[in-house]
Structure formats: structure tokens, C-alpha cells
């Protein structure tokens, strides 16, 4: 190469040493972080060890559990879908399948396993029922007819 081309060569590579890393860093910085898929259900808490009551029903299984510290847990394994979307689960405390006077436990989104922390009064519950806000009525229920284990 002749002198003028050698100068041009040095200039180009000096520019590349500055510009290309800048371009590469910019390209790395703009890489899209695609969000990981969000679960539609919360993480299910661990089951409490002691089973106070177990109910088997065509809709699913209900277990009343307790841990060593005296905390209570209502476990529901819903096998059949509830016809109304997103019903609320209630403890039936007074034998009447209506919202008033009974205890709201949580929201049901579909079939599967649910575990809810509940208070001691669950021991007096006569069953659970599913109330649909959209339908404006109780859509399903599971009475606690089985005897405690």
C-alpha cells in the first residue's frame, strides 16, 4: 500500500475501534427482555399435616386441615368445572346457602387444587358453596356430611 492508503487504513480501523464497540453495546442494550409467562393462579401453599375432615363429592374433594401451631386450612380439589365463571367459595356456617351470614373463603377460577387459610370457625361449617356474582345465585355446593377422620 502507498502512504496515503496506509493513512486511510489506519484511520478506518481507529474509527472502527471506537464506533463498532459502541454499536455492539447499543445492540446488546436494546435486546428485548420478553416477559416470562405469568401464571394464572397463585402459588399453592403447602398442605397442613393434620386432616380434621375429609369430604368426597362428585364435584371434588374438600379437606379441612390443621398445622402444629393451630392454624386451619381449607383444601379443595375441584374435579368438575363450575358452570358459572369465577364463582366465590363460601363456608356454609348457618345451613343456608346464601351470602349473608356465611364466610367468604376465596375465588375459584377453574378446576384444580386450592388451599385457603381459614379461621377456627371452619370447624363448625356445614359445608361449602359456590356463589356466582354474575348469575346472582349459589351455583353448586358440597355439604360436609362425612364424619371427621
Amino acid at each position: 500500500m502507498i502512504t496515503s492508503l496506509r493513512k486511510r487504513h489506519r484511520l478506518i480501523w481507529t474509527l472502527w475501534v471506537v464506533l463498532l464497540p459502541m454499536g455492539m453495546i447499543a445492540a446488546v442494550m436494546v435486546v428485548r427482555e420478553y416477559p416470562s409467562q405469568e401464571l394464572t393462579m397463585h402459588k399453592i401453599p403447602e398442605a397442613y399435616p393434620e386432616v380434621l375432615k375429609a369430604v368426597d363429592h362428585p364435584l371434588g374433594k374438600v379437606n379441612l386441615r390443621k398445622d402444629a401451631g393451630g392454624a386451619y386450612q381449607l383444601e379443595l380439589f375441584l374435579k368438575e368445572p363450575i358452570s358459572s365463571p369465577a364463582p366465590m367459595l363460601y363456608l356454609n356456617m348457618n345451613g343456608q346457602e346464601e351470602i349473608s351470614g356465611n364466610v367468604l373463603v376465596g375465588n375459584i377460577l377453574g378446576t384444580g387444587l386450592y388451599r385457603f387459610s381459614v379461621s377456627k370457625e371452619v370447624e363448625q361449617a356445614q359445608g361449602v358453596f359456590f356463589h356466582s356474582k354474575i348469575a346472582g345465585r349459589v351455583v353448586k355446593s358440597i355439604p360436609f356430611t362425612d364424619k371427621p377422620n
Binding site: I2, R10, W16, L19, A27
Partner: protein, 342 residues
């Protein structure tokens, strides 16, 4: 060297060079395809071809860009330089397969011209993350095409070595375009640290080699010369190796002073073929032989031996004691001068 033009002036070394090159390319493609099929058996042939040729072309581009500075830094790499044009054309062909397959696969099934589609399918030119990176690859391929098409002594002669060299320096821009093509394209979807690490390693290696070679040369270019009454002091005769040269740079002149058979001759350091450094060559069979492509010149008149017609300038020499001096005002190309006997 050739008197006339032929598509390829084959010789044993070129055949060997091309055979090894072709073998290595085939081996790479076979390995890439084999490993990819083993890891991703569901891959479609089009994607496999696009990726195999893309990675091979990038690898070849890095090797090609390394050859020049390596040969400047260490003459053992000169044999790689000898047939670099075949390497370059091969790389362009591989890159062209990548480009054409990508053009057909990603733009060939719409209702507009595929080339038009490259520039208009994604118009987010003001966005970095969504930049239409394929356009960068398109322009890189265009530069490589121009280089491949003019990679022949016909163009070298007709464009002049200087213009030809400037044109072929376009490969540096092609490299930059290719690097950003992959960083804004393939890297955005498969951003593995290995991929990034390889690009960074490639950039560090190439820029390091080119700058090292460039600044090594600039030291020679800018060396302080002792000029006495228009004559440049070259140094003691004993410091010039037998059948080799000492090079001096003065302004735009670059002069090679050769020592051979008890004589000294000075000719231009710039080869007529590709502006190679004649002073880094040797005298073989009585002729100064360019280290790049073997072009030869007679030391006393700077002309190529018949039937060849290349000519370079010659320079006056004088000896004072044991010290050699050269007059930087050159004679017309091919001027015969009596060698200086020492």
C-alpha cells in the same frame, strides 16, 4: 505475472491453495449441518442453509481480514496473501447463497419485488431494536459483489492499483455492516453470550492486528531521515542484508535500496501490480521479486524481464565511505542506471 489476461492464471500453488480452501469450506458446512441436525432435528432446510452459509461467510471474512496485517507483521503468512483474491471470491459466493436464500425465504412470497421488500417490509429506520437489519446485509453483499467482480488483473490494470485498492478497502465497511447486521438481527433473537463473545473476539483480533500493522508501518513512514544536500542517508552498506533491501520513505516517495552481488540499486518500493512493498521482497534469479504476488523487476532499470512490461522508477545512489545515500528525485520509470559497486 501475465502478459495477457486469462480468467485464472492457474499454477501449482493456486491449485493447492484452492483445494485446501474448498476442502475446509466443505468440512465446515458438513460439520455445521451435522451438528445442527443432531441438536435441532426439526430445523427446515432453508433455515439450515441460511445459517450455515451465514456463519461460514462471517468466519471467512474474519480470516480474509486477518491475512493482510498478519503478512505485514510476520512474513511467514505471505503464502496466504498470495491467493487471497480466490479466498475473497469464495467468501462472496457463500455470502451470496445466504443473501439469495434469505431474499427468497423472507421476501419472495409477497406481492412486491423481493429487493423492494427488503427495504420496505420493515420501515422502522429510526428504531435500533427494530432496525431493518437486512438492509445492512444487503449493502455488505453489494460491496462484496463489486469487490469479487473486480478481483481480476484486468480491473487492477484498468482502474489503476490505487483506485483498485481504494475500491477494495470497501471490505472494511462491509465488515462493519456485517457486524451490525448480525448484532441487530440474529443476535436480537438468539442472544447467547457465546455468540456475542465470538463477535467481540473477532473485533478485538481484527482491530488489534490492523492497528498493530498500521502503526508498525507508520514508524517506518515517519522515521527521521538525515538529508544532506538533497541526498538521504540510507546507512552503512553492511546493514543491508544480501539480496534484500533497506526501505526509506520521504514525502510521497518510498524507495527500496537493494544489495546484491557486490552492487547496490535503488528502485521504487511500490509494485505496479497491487502496490506491494518491493523492498520487503528478495532478489530471486537476478530479479527483485514482490513478496505479495511474485511480480519481478530488474534491479538496475526497474523493468520487468521480457515479455512483461511493468516498470517502476529508479533512483541515484552514492557511497561516501561505507555510507549509502539515495537521491529521492526518481528517474522516469524504467530508466537504466549503473549499479553502485561497493
Amino acid at each position: 505475472m501475465a502478459v495477457g489476461y486469462e480468467p485464472v492464471l492457474w499454477n501449482r500453488q493456486k491449485k493447492r491453495y484452492d483445494l485446501i480452501l474448498g476442502g475446509l469450506m466443505a468440512l465446515y458446512l458438513a460439520l455445521f449441518i451435522g451438528v445442527t441436525l443432531a441438536l435441532y432435528p426439526e430445523i427446515v432446510p432453508q433455515t439450515l442453509i441460511i445459517r450455515a452459509t451465514a456463519t461460514l461467510a462471517i468466519l471467512m471474512l474474519h480470516v480474509i481480514l486477518s491475512i493482510g496485517p498478519l503478512a505485514r507483521l510476520d512474513e511467514r503468512f505471505l503464502p496466504l496473501l498470495y491467493n487471497r483474491r480466490h479466498f475473497g471470491v469464495s467468501m462472496f459466493l457463500i455470502a451470496a447463497v445466504h443473501g439469495i436464500f434469505s431474499l427468497i425465504w423472507f421476501h419472495g412470497f409477497g406481492n412486491v419485488n423481493p429487493v423492494y421488500s427488503v427495504f420496505t417490509a420493515n420501515m422502522q429506520y429510526n428504531s435500533l431494536v427494530d432496525f431493518p437489519f437486512q438492509t445492512l446485509g444487503f449493502f455488505a453483499l453489494l460491496i462484496l459483489f463489486v469487490m469479487a467482480a473486480t478481483s481480476h488483473d484486468f480491473w487492477l490494470k484498468n482502474l489503476s492499483p490505487r483506485v483498485w485498492k481504494i475500491l477494495h478497502m470497501g471490505v472494511y465497511f462491509a465488515y462493519a455492516l456485517v457486524l451490525m447486521h448480525v448484532m441487530l438481527g440474529a443476535y436480537q433473537t438468539e442472544n447467547s453470550p457465546i455468540q456475542l463473545g465470538l463477535y467481540v473476539l473477532g473485533l478485538i483480533t481484527l482491530s488489534g492486528l490492523h492497528l498493530a500493522a498500521g502503526f508498525k508501518q507508520s514508524k517506518t513512514d515517519n522515521a527521521q531521515l538525515l538529508i544532506e544536500q538533497g541526498w538521504i542517508q540510507v546507512g552503512p552498506v553492511s546493514e543491508i542484508p544480501e539480496d534484500c533491501a533497506r526501505i526509506v520513505h520521504h514525502g510521497k516517495e518510498s524507495i527500496a535500496i537493494f544489495k546484491y552481488e557486490g552492487k547496490l540499486s535503488a528502485i521504487s518500493n511500490v509494485c505496479k501490480h497491487q502496490n506491494g512493498p518491493l523492498g520487503e521482497g528478495k532478489i530471486i534469479d537476478g530479479c527483485i521479486t514482490c513478496p505479495w504476488h511474485g511480480y519481478q523487476y530488474l534491479p538496475h532499470n526497474g523493468t520487468s524481464p521480457p515479455p512483461f512490461t511493468e516498470k517502476v522508477a529508479t533512483y541515484d545512489l552514492k557511497l561516501e565511505g561505507n555510507t549509502v545515500y539515495v537521491n529521492p528525485k526518481g528517474h522516469p520509470e524504467g530508466t537504466e542506471l549503473e549499479p553502485l559497486v561497493y
